[in-house]
Symmetry: C2
């Protein structure tokens, strides 16, 4: 029996998120699709665990999963073998053997999410599945200032959607950075953990700042409120991508 | 009555090319979709003419069309109005009034096509619809040399697919350039006109050079042969994009 760690890329557009939904037997999820592919490949019913349980429509460039298998396929050939059983919008890009203690989520030290905003007057068709189109002029320096207040060790209850099972809302945002190139704004958020919808609520709040609806300093007040209603709206899922997980 | 010139972007993945196919009434084309959108917007049955009649699966970032309309919608607002009637994979990005002599295809001085190749070991999921995945090491300097022999005023019969209605096969390729950044190779071809499948046969031939199957100098022999069988295969359509048309 081997314990494997794999890195996945996926286009989340056509999936109802990472996690298999009990009850919604027919909804297509990333986890379900991978487990089916593993079954086709190995004949085993394998349960896979992911670092980030991404929402419906969210993408990944560096999702990490772990699972156990009796397969004799050499580890170095596992990604290619699995890809032959996967649809083209999910791709395994690396695999390595890990010890039994490794857990994709609990062992993770930090995760990096990137949110992409297309500020072109008309949406870029080639980015429409991966970027949120906001055809307004956004005040970048104000968004940068607001992002700096997100960084640090805070109680992020204001940035947690209802339905979360979290009991402790304190997380450390090691980096929250806004950058622009041509008509694309990227918001990178790196943290030791993310609450339910946290990255998207941070982005929704920074967009309120960029549109001039609230001031950068208001972010401090929003954090202190410890109340979801204080923060901005949840930005749409299709702009978000899980870029990297570090262990 | 106004004559309009418009610039379009489209993701060609889900279309059977630019041109309405007589006989295949049900096949979805870019031209048909735009004419339907114009009908919804203006109530007029408008015929649109394109600079490049792109094949099934080919994309455009700078397709140019022209058409006549009685509509009173101000020209500056026309793209946004039309976009509200178009599916999200076709976007009008600019419009201007032109005189009646303007013809998107016949008036064009040159067109630029770009072909994108993904040489990552595993296909990049976010580029899979827009880049041809070639997981081999390609000899870039040899491809560059081969591309230089494509440039110039030649009889391109060897690079013209059967089914073309062309009588004159002489075209001027003003630029044929190969460049690489990270795992992406781009082949830019600018010419005063393109024969049927010409850009894709040029790319297919340059790929044969990159893989070491033929030598860069062989391109001279292939041009001289004036025979389609002398050139390489036709590269798949989804890597090709009509970038720009100049008048």
């Amino acid at each position: 029996m081997k314990c494997l760690k794999m890195i996945l890329q996926y286009d989340g557009t056509n999936y109802n998120g990472w996690q298999i939904q009990t009850g919604q037997a027919k909804s297509r999820t990333i986890q379900g699709t991978i487990q089916e592919a593993l079954y086709k490949l190995t004949g085993e019913k394998i349960k896979v665990t992911a670092a980030g349980r991404t929402d419906a429509g969210v993408h990944a460039r560096g999702q990490v999963i772990n699972f156990k298998t009796e397969s004799t396929i050499p580890v170095s050939r596992f990604p290619k073998a699995l890809n032959s059983c996967l649809p083209p919008d999910i791709v395994a890009v690396a695999a390595e053997q890990v010890d039994e203690q490794f857990h994709a989520r609990y062992s993770a030290k930090r995760k990096l999410y990137r949110y992409t905003i297309d500020v072109s007057p008309y949406p870029d068709v080639f980015r429409r599945r991966y970027a949120y189109h906001v055809p307004y002029s956004l005040k970048l320096s104000r968004m940068e200032e607001a992002a700096s207040y997100i960084e640090g060790n805070h109680d992020f209850r204001s940035f947690c959607a209802a339905g979360s099972s979290a009991k402790n809302f304190v997380r450390t945002v090691e980096m929250c950075r806004v950058s622009k190139r041509d008509n694309i704004i990227e918001i990178d958020v790196m943290a030791n953990g993310f609450l339910y919808h946290m990255a998207r609520i941070i982005v929704g709040t920074l967009l309120e700042v960029g549109k001039g609806k609230i001031k950068p300093e208001d972010v401090k007040r929003i954090i202190a409120a410890k109340n979801r209603d204080a923060a901005g709206p949840t930005a749409p899922s299709h702009g978000l991508c899980l870029e990297k997980v570090e262990y």
